[in-house]
Symmetry: D2
Subunit: 338 residues, 4 copies
């Protein structure tokens, strides 16, 4: 922590701040500069509340130096986290594809998609039973019936299940059905939910909030990690900006700083991130090139008839072609497509 | 709904789209322009999914004409909603002050603040028992013990209680303690929570999400209204922008369009909206002038010792002075301070 | 300047950074904390380039403590700047109205508006001869002919002229016609232009760039001030955000921090800031309440027939009513309407 | 153009709007829907100003259907633009590298960099003689002396020159020195400058404004194209968002929609876009994968000693390694590295 003093702060002001710092059990280190004085603070700053320094006479601002994330940050955990499900591994040099329909519509359709994915070498199916919809009048997902379908699909095909948990009341049912539990964008700071999945034994895929900073995102992950669940993946899915060319702005630029700051695997969802199926393949390829650890993709045998999100859903042929190109690029980029 | 055709769309393309529209039981109205054709659609558009039109050959884009909010919008409900609690009325020409500490800290302190507010003619106390905190290591509120304190404070002083609900599991306990239930910024699109308060009998104060558009905000209110609870207030508390001069950008510019679009009362929270106590009074005055229906303010007898949010909390003397100025401005602006 | 070291930085890393600092002629002050070391730097930091410190081993980041604006900031210039034109004074407790048509359309119309404004006690007319238009096919203003009209209007009515300079090649002609030279949003960082008006003898009204931070805005003002022209006013006119309810987001929240940071007068343009005439009066009143020093308003006797920006232009009757309310609020807020 | 009527608009309102449309020489097509009426307009809409419709009784909003860009859009110009300089070709299946120091510092250094680039097969050198700097106290570039150096470097090495024009007064000097004239971010809507380069015979590289929408960017290009210069390239260099992890947010997501909308080549500047040299290579690779036509890169033999922008500048070894990987990826993506 650094206390930056006003240009015109008096020596009396400086002394009073230093004294206040010491009365908190910390050490004050005045650093007189050519135009102003700053006061460095050493000691266990997290144990005290420096708020009252900010309102002292002559203080311009407080500058924080510590990082609030301990478990999600790379400084204390330099090695990359590798997430394991019974079917596959995320991170550790893999580029993992997770694909499927926006929502579970029927057992037959879900099996069809799962079998297509298996034939393509994909191990994880994403499909929503509970759907967060902007309108109360839109299809809200099949709910628990959808979870039952997902369990049957896994039993039949052996594919792993990625599905969203929206409410603590459904926590046990979703944990039972899923191999990876997804926390959606709108719930990134639903702390009751984060605390609940922090106690689970299954991996969590945490989507970025629509206007979450890197720090807020890692602090949401910190809630899960601090609860004891260390199997956390992060997923970028488009952020809110002024742009008018797509529903959201897929922020691939977050990948390198995220990997510099955190050891958690980073996946990209170009379907939600672009909102338009034609833009999914180029952004999927760019995700791999930017260094991400995998993709979430919406696919459907007939996107125009999908129960939700059809505009951003690709068909089987597009998926096959995209996967082939990803497979050609992966070795150049030091990744193993899985 | 309007289907805008590509400049080079052929007559065959146009006919195919028109045929597709009619196969949905709707009417197609081609509008040939000087450079391109658009096709108007009439009929009950909400009953069908126009997605497949978007991917037809020659189609440039779909333009939506209907508004997705029915109950929150002013078109079908031209009269302003007036919200009533046992203690006071929000809307209907009142400018309502809601004030209190960020979090319940102790019974004694909460009573002290409640009595100060009563002496100032304020009827509603805001105080959090459950606190949404960015860090899992920060004070998370007193929880149910805090709710018990709030009930005692109401019993002792007669002041109305505004407090936040964060999780469906606490719904009954919070409904029991509160006169107005607050849904916080991070939960604006927590649909399980919105559905739950939609079934309650007490008014709801719905804070705007950090990057929520006006439409998304009204659609979140629509969830509550559609559940049967028509006592909904909206509260602007700062949005996420590129600005570096404050933690959030208090968006007073939303007030006039919100009031043009919706009949729900609009309150402003300049404490969270600015994040700095010195900026609270000018923005509070500007809120009144912009046409808002009231304020949420964080006050504390000793802000520097507040358990949370001290930097944005004003003291009693500042509140008294601010309230006096609001009282002088109100009649000029056609509002009654309460 | 503070150099924040990585958590795992070695003593060798720290020593190397300290040595590098000293080799620049500065002093290094290592501050060992509970988790990491930071190194304070004292001495004349502006004379050196600390870039190479950022890439040294063990360095996490550099934290700047100095403020880059010297002349625009309040620290070295605590007294408010008061701007004088032959007709009136901006700042110093005045709330100054500047109004007029978006663009000069004809001498007759401009005289009509000027005379209306004079009758309302307004001393400054805004009207564009050179218009920055998004489309090359839109009306670009009357150019030098428009400047000639403005000079005649001033001669006839005595009203002061506020008009925009867009290009250094027109600098002399605009300086000759104007009492206040406006630099528009899109030119806030047109440094050639800023340097040019920095050498002028007439006051400059500097509009905020569409996504300019407070610091960038003050640094643009610094260009003008550093050139020798100290008569600078700032004008907020809406910034670019994700909002869908208006063309721009009028950022009144910048007023208190701007006044805390700078001594320059702050005006608000609610016409461009909202883009819709019905929203202009409430945001104009809110500007006064937020502490601004004045307004720029677009008015026209028949807004629907204005040559540009008609949707955001108010008529004479609306202006008269608005001015009356501003007049009633001003004394309560310690301002003198002019 | 579509006029959307209010839900409660009367038949009289609808008739009045239709009559107003017809009085403008256009045709009105009322489209009664299940909840509201919309009125389609056909005829030459660009010739009239529909503003007055917006303020008519019963009108909710106007929806524009036409696109304002004629020359920059792909609808009227389906074939991709290919830009030619004496040294190379941009677009047409090439992935073009443009690299060099942020600013011209000396002839020796610039020759050294140019020769390195030539040895790497790069045909275009970027280097600034006039530098737009946020602070008036920072190094502003070598100016005309820098242009002289660039001319000598071209004469000696044969490399093409890309350099920025900031002011119409320097137009001839820059045109003389450059093979491609760069218009910087801060000048994207400097219309005097755009008009000037619209009359030049040399290609223009137009950087995106910090908060420019796709439409605004294309309209800026339209100014140049409408002036007669059809050799225009677009360059994304990071936009302004709420993100805290880098100075700007490099918006790769704009590439696919830009290429769908416009025929102009799209280049990416990951140096300015990330602001940090470690993030440049992954974002450069992602640019290629996203479908861009080339890169602008800042390189320097000793980035820590660069006169400006050192933090985002890569060294020769990093460039060589990056170019090798780009070369391996290009054929898979159907591009030819040049």
């Amino acid at each position: 922590m650094l206390v930056v003093m006003h240009l015109n702060a008096s020596q009396q002001n400086i002394d009073a701040v230093a004294k206040a710092i010491e009365s908190m059990g910390l050490q004050a280190h005045p650093l007189p500069g050519s135009t102003r004085t700053a006061i460095g603070i050493t000691g266990n700053i997290t144990a005290v509340d420096p708020n009252r320094l900010a309102s002292m006479e002559g203080v311009l601002e407080l500058v924080r130096v510590t990082r609030p994330y301990k478990l999600a940050g790379r400084e204390m955990h330099p090695d990359n986290t590798v997430v394991k499900t019974p079917q596959t591994t995320v991170g550790g040099g893999n580029f993992t594809l997770i694909a499927g329909p926006c929502s579970v519509e029927s057992e037959g359709l879900t099996v069809e998609i799962a079998e297509f994915l298996k034939s393509e070498g994909v191990h994880l199916l994403r499909a929503g039973a509970f759907k967060p919809r902007t309108s109360p009048y839109s299809f809200q997902g099949m709910g628990r019936e959808g979870l039952e379908i997902l369990k049957k699909v896994r039993a039949k095909t052996g594919i792993g299940i990625v599905t969203e948990l929206m409410d603590t009341e459904e926590a046990e049912a979703v944990e039972d059905a899923a191999d990876i539990i997804q926390i959606g964008t709108r719930n990134m700071q639903n702390y009751a939910l984060l605390r609940r999945v922090g106690k689970m034994k299954k991996p969590v895929l945490l989507k970025r909030g629509m206007s979450a900073t890197l720090e807020e995102w890692l602090m949401a992950a910190e809630y899960i990690l601090a609860g004891g669940n260390r199997q956390v993946m992060l997923c970028e899915r488009g952020v809110r900006t002024f742009n008018d060319h797509s529903r959201n702005t897929l922020d691939l630029s977050v990948v390198p700083p995220l990997q510099a700051t955190s050891h958690l695997p980073v996946l990209i969802d170009p379907s939600h991130g672009t909102g338009k199926r034609a833009y999914v393949p180029p952004m999927a390829l760019a995700s791999l090139a930017a260094g991400a650890d995998g993709l979430l993709l919406e696919i459907h045998p007939n996107p125009d008839k999908a129960a939700s999100d059809g505009l951003q859903t690709i068909d089987f042929a597009t998926f096959t072609k995209l996967r082939k190109t990803l497979g050609q690029l992966s070795p150049v980029l030091g990744k193993k497509l899985s």
